[in-house]
C-alpha cells in the first residue's frame, strides 16, 4: 500500500505515480510510525544504518579511487542512492536465502555480509579478492558462503537463473528462498519474460526485486517500457506484486518481510517494484548529464541515508553521537579495506587455467 492506494491501482497509472512521488512525504509516512510493530529493534535499525553507510562509503571510496586517484580501472557501476533497497530487502531475508544480483552489485554484496576487504581486493584485481581477481567489479557479489550466490553482467539473465535456484530449493524441500535483483532495463529482455513465466507457472519460492531507478543507462523508463508500469507486467504473469518506495529502508524491509514469508511458506513468487534513483550516472565515469537537473535535485533530497538518519534522530532511536560513531567506524572499515586490497597481488598468470574446469 502506498498512501492508501493499492499497488494494483498505482500500477495502472504509472507515470502519474512517478510524478506523484514528487510529494514523497506521503510515502514516507507509511508504516514509519511504529518501528516496534515490525520487529525493528534499536539494534536492527542501527545495523540498517551501518550497512547503508558501509555501502555509501565503499562506493564513494571506489569513485575516488577511479576518478581522483586513478588506481582502479574498468567499468564500475555504483549503488549510490539505492542503498536502502539492498539493505532493507536483504535484512528482511534469512541469512541462508540466496541472492542473485547484477553488475551494480557492490551494495547487495556488502548488505549480504561479503567482507569489504574481499570486495575491495576484487576491484583491484588481486588474488585476495573473493573472486581471486578474476571477476572484478561486476561480479563482486559472488560469495556463496553468505548466500550471495551470483552476480551477472548480462541484463535480464539473472531471472531464469533465479527460477532454477528457486526450483532447486523447492525440490530439496528447503526453507530457503531465492531473491533476484535487477533493474528497469531487465524488464524488456527476452530472458526476463521467459523467467517470469516459469517462476509463476511452477510457483517457485522466489522474490523478484526490480530496482526501478528510472533509467537504463541513459534511457528513461518512459522511452523503453511499453506498458504503463513494470509492476503490471508482473501481474500479467499471474504474480502478486508490491510497489515500494525503494528509498525508504524501512518500507523495503517491511515489504520484503511479508513477501518472503509468503514465498517461503506458500512457495509462490512475489514481484517487488522498488522505485529509486541513482545519485550518479550509469557507470563511474558517466556524469548522468542526460537527466534533468531538477529531477536529480528532487531525488537527492530523498537520499535514503540522510532521510533515515533524520527519522532515527527524530524518533529518538539513536543519538547524534551514536550516529557519528557509526560514521567513523564504517569509514575506518573502508579505509582498511583499501589497505588490504593494495597489499595483495594478482594471481600468477599460469594459475588462471586451473579455474576453467573443476577437476
Amino acid at each position: 500500500m502506498i498512501a492508501g492506494r493499492s499497488a494494483n491501482e498505482l500500477a495502472c497509472d504509472y507515470r502519474p505515480v512517478v510524478t506523484q512521488l514528487a510529494t514523497l512525504t506521503e510515502l514516507r509516512e507509511v508504516d514509519q510510525k511504529d518501528f516496534a510493530k515490525h520487529g525493528l529493534t534499536k539494534e536492527k535499525l542501527q545495523e540498517m544504518l551501518r550497512k547503508m553507510l558501509i555501502i555509501r562509503k565503499f562506493e564513494e571510496k571506489v569513485e575516488e579511487l577511479f576518478l581522483v586517484k586513478g588506481l582502479l580501472i574498468g567499468p564500475s557501476h555504483l549503488y549510490l542512492g539505492q542503498e536502502s533497497v539492498a539493505v532493507g530487502a536483504i535484512m528482511a531475508l534469512q541469512r541462508d536465502d540466496l541472492t542473485i544480483t547484477t553488475y551494480r552489485g557492490h551494495g547487495h554484496a556488502l548488505a549480504k555480509d561479503v567482507p569489504a576487504n574481499l570486495c575491495m581486493a576484487e576491484l583491484f584485481g588481486k588474488s585476495t579478492g573473493n573472486c581471486k581477481g578474476l571477476g572484478g567489479s561486476m561480479h563482486v557479489a559472488i560469495y556463496p558462503k553468505t548466500g550471495s550466490l551470483y552476480a551477472t553482467a548480462i541484463v535480464g539473465s539473472g531471472i531464469p537463473i533465479t527460477a532454477g535456484v528457486g526450483l532447486g530449493l523447492k525440490q530439496k524441500r528447503s526453507k530457503q528462498i531465492a531473491a533476484a535483483f535487477f533493474g528497469d532495463g531487465a524488464c524488456n529482455t527476452g530472458a526476463f519474460h521467459e523467467g517470469m513465466n516459469l517462476v509463476a507457472l511452477w510457483k517457485l519460492p522466489v522474490l523478484l526485486f526490480c530496482e526501478n531507478n528510472q533509467y537504463a543507462m541513459s534511457t528513461p523508463v518512459k522511452l523503453a517500457v511499453s506498458s504503463p508500469s513494470i509492476a503490471e507486467r508482473a501481474r500479467s504473469y499471474g504474480m502478486d506484486t508490491i510497489l515500494v518506495n525503494g528509498n525508504d529502508v524501512v518500507a523495503m524491509y517491511v515489504a520484503t518481510k511479508s513477501a518472503a514469508e509468503r514465498a517461503r511458506n506458500e512457495s509462490t513468487p512475489i514481484f517487488l517494484e522498488c522505485l529509486t534513483y541513482k545519485m550518479k550516472g550509469h557507470g563511474v565515469y558517466d556524469r548522468g548529464e542526460y537527466r534533468p537537473k531538477d529531477e536529480v535535485a528532487k531525488w537527492l533530497e530523498r537520499d535514503p541515508i540522510i532521510t533515515f538518519k533524520k527519522r532515527l534522530l527524530d524518533q529518538k532511536v539513536l543519538t547524534t553521537t551514536e550516529i557519528d560513531q557509526l560514521e567513523t567506524a564504517t569509514q575506518q572499515e573502508i579505509e582498511d579495506s583499501v589497505k588490504f586490497a593494495m597489499a595483495g597481488s594478482p594471481l600468477p598468470f599460469d594459475r588462471i587455467m586451473s579455474y576453467v574446469y573443476m577437476e
Binding site: 559472488i142 550466490l149 527460477a163 576453467v356 573443476m358
Partner: protein, 308 residues
C-alpha cells in the same frame, strides 16, 4: 536418476510425450512430474533454470529439442554457465548437462538440422560430448551427469534408431578421452558422432582395397584428446578429419591446426577435412543426401591424402 535423487530433467515434451524422439520414454511414469519437468517453449529459461538448479545443488539434465534452438540460450550456456567457475575464482561450479540432437539427414530443412558443436570450441569452460554408438551413449551420459562442469551432450538424430550392445552394468566413459574404434597403419581418420559410423564403413571398404585405416572416435571435442590423435598420426603419418559440420571453422579446422602444430614432422601429406559444404542445409531429400558427407566421401579423402 535412480542412483542420484538430485538428477532432474527439464525440457519441452520430455514427460507426457516421452520426448520428441522418445529418448526420455517412461521416465515421467517412473520418476514423477517433479523430476521430469515438461517446460513451456522457453529455451533461455530452460537453460537458465538448469544453471540455477546446478547452483542450488541439483544435477539438472536439460533438453533442447533441436541444436538449431541453442542460439536462443547461448547467453545462459556460454556467458553464464561456462564462465561461472572462472569469474567466481572457483567459488561456483555448474554441474549441468544440456542434451540436444541434430537432425541432419532427416529432411528437416535448414532450421531443424544444423550441427554446430564447433561454436563451443570458442567457449572455454563448456565441455562438449558426442556419442557415436549406444554403448558410448550410456557411458558418456553418465560421465557427463557426474561431471562437475557444464556439459553439452550432442546426440545424432539419425543414430537414434541404431542398435548396439549396451552393457547392463554400471559404467562410465571418461570425458576428454578419444578411442580408436578400429586400429590401422596407413592413415588416421578422426571423426565424431554420425561420421564415426560412416568412417568405420569406409574403413571396411578400404581394407578390401588394401588400405589400413585407423578410426579414432573423439567422443569429446572439448577438451579434445590431442594425445590419442597425435599418437595415432605419428604412426600413420596421414590424417583425415570427418565431421557433420560445415567445413569452414568446423571441428576439423581446430583438429587440423592442432595436429599441424604438434605433429608436422610426422605428416607425409596435408590434412584433409571431410565436412559439409559451407551452405545452410537444403531441404530437398536428394540435395540433402548430396550435402551430407558419407563413407564414400571419407574413402575419397583417404585416397587423396594417400595419393592413390
Amino acid at each position: 536418476m535412480i542412483r542420484d535423487p538430485d538428477v532432474i530433467l527439464l525440457g519441452e515434451e520430455i514427460g507426457v510425450f516421452n520426448g520428441v524422439y522418445k529418448v526420455t520414454r517412461g521416465l515421467l511414469d517412473e520418476f514423477g512430474p517433479e523430476r521430469v519437468r515438461d517446460t513451456p517453449i522457453s529455451e533461455a529459461a530452460i537453460a537458465g533454470a538448469a544453471v540455477g538448479l546446478a547452483l542450488a545443488g541439483m544435477k539438472p539434465v536439460a533438453e533442447i529439442m533441436y541444436m538449431d534452438f541453442l542460439p536462443i540460450c547461448m547467453d545462459q550456456l556460454c556467458t553464464q554457465a561456462a564462465k561461472m567457475r572462472f569469474m567466481s575464482g572457483g567459488q561456483l561450479n555448474v554441474p549441468m548437462v544440456l542434451r540436444t540432437q541434430y537432425s541432419l539427414g532427416r529432411q528437416h530443412g535448414s532450421q531443424h538440422s544444423q550441427f554446430t558443436p564447433a561454436w563451443f570450441l570458442q567457449v572455454p569452460g563448456m565441455k562438449v560430448v558426442l556419442p557415436s554408438d549406444p554403448r558410448d551413449a550410456k557411458g558418456l551420459l553418465k560421465a557427463s551427469i557426474r561431471d562437475p562442469n557444464p556439459v553439452l551432450f550432442v546426440e545424432s538424430g539419425l543414430l537414434y534408431r541404431t542398435k548396439g550392445l549396451v552393457p547392463e552394468e554400471e559404467y562410465t566413459i571418461p570425458l576428454g578421452e578419444a578411442a580408436a574404434k578400429k586400429k590401422g597403419n596407413d592413415i588416421t581418420i578422426v571423426a565424431v558422432s554420425r561420421m564415426v559410423n560412416e568412417s568405420l564403413a569406409a574403413a571396411t571398404k578400404l581394407d578390401a582395397d588394401g588400405i589400413s585405416a585407423e578410426v579414432v572416435d573423439l567422443r569429446t571435442i572439448q577438451p579434445f584428446d590431442l594425445e590419442t590423435i597425435a599418437e595415432s598420426v605419428k604412426r600413420t603419418s596421414h590424417l583425415v578429419v570427418a565431421c557433420d559440420d560445415v567445413k569452414r571453422g568446423g571441428i576439423g579446422a581446430e583438429i587440423s591446426a592442432s595436429v599441424t602444430e604438434t605433429c608436422f614432422d610426422y605428416l607425409d601429406a596435408p590434412i584433409t577435412r571431410v565436412a559439409c559444404p559451407d551452405t545452410p542445409i537444403p531441404f530437398s531429400p536428394q540435395l540433402e543426401q548430396q550435402y551430407m558427407p558419407n563413407a564414400d566421401c571419407v574413402i575419397k579423402a583417404v585416397k587423396q591424402v594417400l595419393g592413390k
